[in-house]
Symmetry: C2
Subunit: 332 residues, 2 copies
């Protein structure tokens, strides 16, 4: 796609993750819904931080992780999100740029701090997220650079943006520009609680404007209010041109214009931390699609990237994904 | 030791590590001496950070890592060091307290920022440190709480403190209080370049005041200006009551009042990051000594803790060391 500057541009919350380990009792004690993301205020995040064990700080953010993954495959990636002029903002900006993702959002001084998410990882590798949005609440349609959007083959949006009206406006603005430029729009449903909060709008968007959706089993069944994955998958296949549905250890299902493909997971010795599994699946898949590699190879790249990310703490790749994919013969 | 509040109190620089991977060429390009620690200024650390790849932030600091390790064995640990009233200061304070180490130093507002060290890990697992001292330069004898020092069985000091006159004064003050209270003083030589800068003073301290020294092969040979480890070890055994000398893959040598013990390393699948290997060896050894477990068991606990730390990124234990030591039958 020689008329594009980027393969994928992502829009999302610019977050630094604070990752620590805990047991299930700790989650219950602090009302943190296991396996989900909840938005917390300043007081709650401070209390939770004081109570949690030793932690490490690693750049995160759902769409930002995906874009870092796309760049790790060698894709041309850009990210739009808000950081404050503070230490965490500098960490986020450093890490995303160091991952070869174009990031030109200016840090905001004197308002809210940079977003952070306390991510509690239980012994089973499951992650539970407690996100303080901070300056991310400032992300609005003023951030959406039409030149960047219209020069990207795919626009990738995280569903989390729907939790705030201003961010939703930014989201809709980006979709409009992308459509006018004839670009593809991809959406991640982010979290089943998030889906529950915005079901009607998500369905409307998927039917009108979104070309590719990413969802895990609980998100897609929540969207279509069914407990049956197959029914949800059929609905997704009908409502959108392309759906990539992840099912943890059961792999993923890709639905596209009547076709259905099942993609197995890539092997992992031990799940250390599931943070970013969905984000990195999307990275591999979108890289494959943007490079014209076909659905099956794209799905395999998704599985490969997800396997890499769950084998260590943090949601950014530790090793160059392009090299791993070549070593495994998935790409040449 | 029922008359003590702490088994070990450590004094050192309170540092947050910024860990990233690079190749040897990157180190050469940025004049970073491989395997060593160098002090850098604000301009240098900013330039290096901009040039280095994606990184993770994990609390560090040599003596602080050791105390976190001692607490992980179940020892009663305290740490004295300076942080600023900033994000990195809050991270450091959170992590050391969350590791069950008593830390009551007040954060300093409006002066220098909290210390940070850019740690570059090469593919061989070796780490090269670039430390911006920031507020650590404020550590002076005013920080030394006589009650804490005199109520600790062992006072542990990092040699890095000698790089600043004020910190050296704090160091000497702590040694004086400890000696008056009949406590033991332990010293880590920290780095062979550091030894080279302060050779005469270190030798004087070791002969007069220090009971236990920790050094690796390059530090102890630098101290005694010899290329022969055996000659250096003989000197160390003569100059101090107890010396624990680490030799990377060759294990460690313990010298005490004419005795010489060789302790093998504990097995590690792959060295991911050697940051903290010496710090955690000291943790296991000091925990053993303070618990009265004898030299051989103490050395084995040092090997065990070092093996745990080099098997992952960062210099703080990922798993409870007491539990590992029990599982391996080293302690009951």
């Amino acid at each position: 796609m020689s008329d594009t500057r980027f393969d994928v541009v992502g829009i999302g919350n610019a977050i630094v993750d604070i990752l620590g380990r805990c047991d299930d009792a700790f989650l219950a004690q602090h009302n943190a819904p296991k396996g989900h993301m909840r938005i917390v205020d300043d007081t709650t995040i401070s209390a939770l931080y004081a109570a949690m064990g030793p932690s490490v700080e690693i750049s995160g953010g759902s769409a930002a992780n995906t874009l870092a993954g796309i760049a790790s495959f060698g894709g041309r990636a850009a990210f739009i999100g808000k950081v404050a002029d503070d230490e965490f903002g500098r960490i986020f900006a450093h890490d995303i740029k160091a991952a070869d993702v174009t990031f030109s959002s200016k840090p905001v001084a004197g308002k809210e701090p940079t977003s952070r998410s306390l991510i509690l990882v239980t012994p089973d590798g499951e992650r539970t997220m407690n996100t303080f949005l901070g300056i991310s609440t400032d992300l609005d349609d003023g951030e959406i650079d039409p030149d960047v959007i219209s020069s990207s083959a795919i626009i990738y949006l995280e569903g989390y943006l729907f939790d705030r009206p201003d961010a939703k406006a930014a989201f809709r603005q980006a979709v409009k520009i992308a459509k006018q430029a004839g670009r593809q729009v991809a959406l991640s449903l982010s979290d089943s609680f998030c889906v529950d909060r915005h079901r009607e709008e998500f369905i409307d968007l998927i039917r009108n404007g979104v070309d590719i959706i990413f969802a895990n089993e609980s998100e897609i069944t929540s969207l279509y209010e069914t407990s049956d994955f197959e029914i949800a998958a059929q609905n997704a296949g009908r409502d959108t041109r392309l759906a990539a549905l992840t099912r943890s250890a059961k792999g993923s299902v890709i639905l596209s214009e009547g076709r259905r493909l099942e993609i197995p997971v890539a092997p992992v010795d031990k799940v250390i931390d599931s943070t970013g599994a969905g984000d990195l699946y999307a990275a591999g898949f979108l890289y494959g699609i943007s490079a014209g590699l076909g659905l099956e190879t794209s799905g395999k790249l998704g599985s490969l990237a997800a396997a890499e990310i769950i084998s260590h703490m943090g949601a950014r790749p530790n090793a160059p994904l392009e090299k791993i994919a070549r070593a495994q013969g998935i790409i040449n």
